[in-house]
């Protein structure tokens, strides 16, 4: 942080490398093209450099950077005439169960809501299979199919290790929204891994 404020280029580029891919994806949620998203990211970094001297550290650095980014992205999106409803980036089924209802017994059964067939125990799987490149490819591919806000919450939390609080503040989400998005995203990735390991 001090190196950054002193104008250390390596410190800046290190931060750029670490946060850049996420920033690009987040910007892209609000604007019309990849090229515009790139511009938004550049503007955000410029804003970061300009504001660095006044950064008081009341939030984490990366939260502060993302707030700058999201503000610029939303403003740019509005200028493009785009007003993105939350459902468009978060998914429009957030009030639906994240789990496939057919996994459970229906109301006509003896035990409604209980498992209709037991989920498979992955602990019986060979470790090499679970962590194989193919499984990782399935996970990566599933992330690409998620609504972008679900994917990003999942990446920040489970791939990059951000805290829930940082994610909420960075992406301007309520606690409830962030939890629901994370749950849905994890459920979909879990389902994809399950299907893959069963095949």
């Amino acid at each position: 942080m001090q190196r950054l404020q002193r104008g250390d280029e390596d410190a800046f580029m290190d931060l750029v490398e670490r946060l850049g891919p996420s920033m690009r994806r987040v910007a892209r949620m609000f604007v019309s093209t990849d090229a515009v998203a790139d511009e938004v990211v550049q503007d955000a970094w410029l804003g970061v450099l300009q504001g660095l001297a006044k950064f008081e550290g009341r939030s984490s650095l990366r939260t502060w950077i993302f707030r700058i980014l999201v503000n610029i992205a939303k403003t740019r999106g509005q200028k493009e005439g785009r007003s993105i409803p939350f459902a468009a980036i978060a998914g429009d089924d957030l009030d639906q169960p994240a789990w496939d209802p057919s996994d459970f017994l229906g109301p006509e059964s003896d035990a409604p809501g209980h498992w209709s067939s037991l989920p498979s125990d992955w602990r019986g799987m060979p470790e090499e299979r679970a962590e194989a490149a193919e499984t990782m490819r399935v996970i990566g591919a599933t992330l690409e199919t998620l609504p972008p806000m679900q994917a990003e919450v999942l990446r920040l939390r489970d791939v990059l290790g951000w805290s829930s609080e940082e994610i909420r503040n960075a992406l301007d989400l309520t606690d409830t929204n962030q939890r629901v998005l994370l749950h849905r995203a994890r459920a979909k990735v879990r389902a994809a891994v399950e299907a893959h390991l069963r095949s």
């Binding site: 550049q42 970094w45 169960p97 994240a98 996994d103 209980h114 499984t135 939890r179 459920a187």
Partner: protein, 76 residues
């Protein structure tokens, strides 16, 4: 609560984000339900695998543009 309801809480349970009462409820259910216990382990393993995912890298072009932004700011 049935399994169908418990699994909708499983992510929050894993992250210790449930209020104490709900947490206890899930814990009691898990103690006697193999299916839901298995699901908890699946979600735990899913999170573990996600942690091994490679993050995207910036392209050379993106990197050098941002380096130029830095230089311009420092010089300007």
């Amino acid at each position: 609560m049935a399994c169908r309801d418990i699994v909708e809480m499983i992510s929050d349970y894993l992250d210790q984000a449930l209020p104490a009462g709900e947490r206890a409820h899930v814990q009691i259910h898990l103690a006697t339900c193999d299916g839901c216990e298995t699901v908890l382990e699946q979600v735990r393993e899913t999170v573990h695998l996600l942690g091994k995912l490679d993050e995207e890298r910036l392209t050379e072009v993106q990197r050098e543009i941002l380096r130029a932004v830095f230089h311009h700011h420092v010089l300007g």
